[in-house]
Amino acid sequence: MGLSLSINGQIHTVEAEPDTPLLWVLRDELGMTGTKYGCGVAQCGACTVHLDGAAVRSCQTPISAVGAGKITTIEGLEGRHPLQAAWVAHDVPQCGYCQSGQIMSAAALLAQNPKPSDGDIDAAMSGNLCRCGAYQRIHAAILDAASAKTEA
């Protein structure tokens, strides 16, 4: 028994029940704790990961629904994403708890839209809550990372 999941380029066989949200499999079974629990109802975005490149809320994604889809988590960015450098340059995080999810949402945006407008960023990021209110730095860091990527 066990279900196979492709996470950050590796196949993991997990024992969890098929209805278990991906979030809890990542965190409790696989020990990948960069993806956070914030609400459990897809309202805060702290649990955002990529499923075949698209940003999804892992708290509302049962592992049975993942199939052969390729999952990328914050760990999968390996600290090398231009967004992560921009986050550090702007000292974006305060408490930091939401930032994995923020970065995963932003990374999915930039992958599809390398030069997003302010409105594009607003639309893509409005599902990710930050109670510390780091929004304007998040916004600025995304714009910076986008221009860095374009120049590169």
Binding site: E17, L129, G133, H139
Partner: protein, 740 residues
């Protein structure tokens, strides 16, 4: 004999204002809970009783040097986002003349005798005091270590101390000799640290006050590697969730765990004082187990009322129509004699209703506990270290200092992680005590547990009547506040309540320059009771007093036909409120106050002092589809010496978002004693697309640092209604401003 009040309630030695009621609150719990108005005992003595002997090494409890020269500063405070770690590091590194790239931070142990907040007398983070209370202490840590290295070099080089210089971690002499801290470490460690080292003249600062002071945790927090309570994984660890009473004040009557025990992964189910604990091998199994519980509750002592009923009651109390037996009216800032009634055309009447607010930090409450007999270790985002030690100690029958705490990052708090009753911590200890054997148990609160768990910013009602003179300025001010007190009737009461007034219920009305400028004041507070628990919430009393005072003044200005900023200036001049005047001038100048805006946009202004700092806020607002949209906020802050300017800006940005969120949307509605909003689907909070651009301007100051984490919030809650008044001509009387 030394009473607690001698130490804890003394004026701020760092030179700030008197201790605010909020700061006092932290101390009080400690003392009262320990029954400790004890002769000869300081609160730190009590809270630290039973602490293990600690070996701190040559540089004392706050500083460690690795052989390679890497420097670690111990942070006695909780880093929950406010950036205190980098401020504390900057103070040490500045005086030490260290290489900024080689300075790091670690959370200290919990030990009140060593790591007390000097403004509280016990260890804890709150009241925006982390930098203020450490200002001299942490600088002296750096200065003492620097003196040790200088002396070591002087002895080695046989040179006078006055000829030794230190820069960026390198000690040198004019004759060309030089050595790094690492090279001098063995010799320096043998030197007795000076007790009262000389501190730098602030004009010689090269780090404090500069943008070189960047956070040290940004990378970890941008890569998912920063460790929060939620992320703790220990061998053999269990996860617990607890079923709580749906109504505030309800008690468990009975439960049937048959189905819960059958859930795969559930290990045990048992009752604890706050409900029924389900212990499992992971969060999902524990939650499934809890869902399968059959529970009956005894609501005989529970709150049965709803928000509308509570609000109506508060209004009737304020209007003098009823006086329940909960409390009696108490004067708090009255002066002069109110000869005339507050009726007639020269009187402004304004009322305000404020709802319960959840703190809703991104990381819901949680705590990892291990208990074996009276041995107890806690691993979590501790904020009220000493209070939590005391609370845990009462559960396991130990001395407070023996409770070991490993402090992790907190995923936000805004006041929630430190409470007078240590609610979630005590719950974790009860569960771990039942499990026993020092087996780690992670208590996890779901978002619903967290938002439904009370400890809210209390519901409040203000009724204000102001008689104005011929010039349009106040001559008599009547103020009635109805708000729950989290001090009265609890263990906090005997020290936090002065002359019948819990200071946190009125701070901001009390001390207002507007009242100072008014000859006659008749101010009273009434504190109703409810099983709904309340707590300090980012800026505490100011969350309602700032909007009330600022919006009332704006209404007075509008009535008088005077520009609201000019009106404030006159009142500040009358009151001698120079700091208010200075931030008002700075913010309005930078915001372009009085200059035209595009169609539909208006400005609102507010100024408020809290936690020793004065902040002015000017916002630009437009009503779009009936909802206020704020696009630009200009903040001017006087917080004494700006230790970390970019982090001050971050707190002003975040404080504005937090205040805007609450003013626009924040509300926990009570339905027959039970909270309605328990997750972000119904508890609306500010989102990315709704966030304003915040510009921060820091007033140059030579005063010691004062608070920054909280004071940016209340002014935002106050400038917004003023912008709405400017747009519509109609005052705001009910929060949140956007309903449904």
């Amino acid at each position: 004999m030394r009473l607690l009040s001698d130490t804890a309630l003394a004026p701020n030695p760092a030179g700030g204002d008197d201790l605010s009621a909020t700061r006092r609150g932290f101390v009080i719990g400690a003392v009262m809970a320990s029954g400790a108005l004890l002769v000869g005992c300081s609160p730190a003595d009590i809270m630290g009783a039973g602490a293990p002997k600690r070996d701190f090494g040559a540089f004392g409890p706050f500083l460690k040097f690795a052989p390679d020269g890497q420097i670690t500063v111990m942070n006695k405070h909780q880093e929950m986002g406010q950036g205190n770690h980098v401020g504390l590091l900057a103070m040490v590194a500045e005086e030490l003349d260290a290489d900024w790239s080689k300075v790091g931070v670690e959370a200290s142990a919990a030990d009140a005798k060593v790591y007390a907040n000097s403004l509280m007398g016990i260890q804890g983070t709150g009241g925006s005091t982390a930098i203020a209370n450490s200002w001299l202490q942490y600088r002296k840590v750096g200065a003492a270590a620097r003196a040790m290295f200088v002396q070591a070099a002087a002895e080695a080089w046989k040179a006078p101390i006055s000829e030794i210089h230190v820069k960026s971690g390198v000690v040198s002499h004019a004759n060309g000799k030089s050595a790094t801290f690492a090279e001098l470490l063995p010799a320096a460690a043998k030197i007795v640290p000076p007790k009262d080292p000389t501190l730098k003249d602030p004009k010689d600062f090269t780090l404090i006050g500069t943008d070189r002071v960047k956070r040290k945790d940004s990378l970890a927090k941008s890569t998912g590697t920063a460790r929060y309570t939620q992320d703790v994984r220990l061998p053999n660890m269990l996860t617990a969730v607890v079923a709580h009473s749906p109504r505030f004040g309800g008690k468990l009557k009975s439960f049937d765990a048959t189905a819960a025990r059958k859930v795969k992964g559930v290990v045990d189910v048992f009752a604890i004082p706050t409900g029924v604990a389900v212990v499992a091998d992971g969060v999902y199994a524990a939650r499934k187990g809890r869902d399968a519980l059959v529970l009956t509750w005894d609501d005989s002592a529970a709150e049965a009322r709803s928000s509308a009923e509570l609000e109506a009651t508060y209004r009737k109390i304020a209007a003098g129509e009823i006086t329940p037996k909960d409390d009696q009216w108490t004067d708090f800032a009255s002066k002069g004699e109110a000869k005339d009634s507050f009726e007639g055309p020269d009187v402004l009447h304004a009322t305000y209703d404020f709802p319960y607010l959840a703190h809703a930090p991104m990381e819901p409450m949680n705590c990892v506990a291990q208990v074996d007999g009276s041995k107890c270790k806690l691993t979590y985002g501790a904020q009220g270290h000493s209070l939590d030690q005391l609370s845990a100690a009462t559960v396991v029958f130990a001395l407070p200092g023996s409770i070991e705490i490993e402090t992790l990052f907190a995923g936000g708090s805004f006041g929630r992680r430190s409470s007078y009753d240590s609610d979630y911590v005590v719950e974790a200890v009860h569960v771990a005590k039942h499990v026993g054997g020092f087996r780690p148990v992670k208590l996890v609160w779901t978002r619903e547990d967290d938002m439904g768990g009370g400890h809210y910013r209390p519901m409040a009602h203000h009724a204000v009547s102001v008689r104005v003179g011929k010039d349009g300025y106040p001559v008599a001010w009547r103020h009635r506040v109805v708000v729950q007190s989290f001090a009265k009737g609890t263990m906090l009461a005997s020290m936090m309540v002065k002359k019948g007034v819990d200071g946190t219920t009125v701070e901001g009305v009390e001390g207002s320059p507007y009242l100072a400028a008014t000859p006659v004041v008749d101010a009273k507070v009434y504190t109703p009771k409810s099983p709904i628990t309340t707590l300090w919430w980012r800026s505490v009393g100011a969350t309602h007093t700032a909007p009330v005072m600022e919006h009332t003044v704006d209404q007075l200005a509008h009535r008088a036909g005077i520009d609201p900023v000019a009106y404030r200036r006159e009142l500040y001049n009358r009151a001698g409120a120079k700091r208010h005047l200075a931030v008002l001038d700075l913010a309005t100048e930078k915001a372009g106050w009085g200059q035209p805006l595009a169609e539909g946009w208006t400005r609102g202004c507010a100024v408020h002092e809290s936690f020793g700092s004065v902040v002015a806020n000017v916002c630009e607002m437009k009503l779009i589809d009936g909802e206020p949209k704020v696009r630009r906020v200009v903040v001017a802050v006087d917080c004494g010496v700006a230790v970390t300017p970019d982090q001050i800006a971050a707190q002003m940005e975040g404080g504005a978002c937090y205040g805007l969120s609450a003013a626009l949307y924040g509300k926990v509605e009570i339905d027959k004693g039970a909270p309605v909003e328990k997750n972000f689907d119904s508890y609306r909070v500010l989102r990315h697309n709704e966030a304003p651009k915040v510009e921060t301007h820091i007033l140059p100051s030579a005063n010691p640092p004062s608070g920054v984490g909280e004071p940016g919030t209340p002014v935002m809650m106050a400038s917004l209604p003023n912008a709405i008044l400017a747009a519509t001509g109609k005052p705001v009387s009910k929060f949140p401003i956007v309903s449904a």
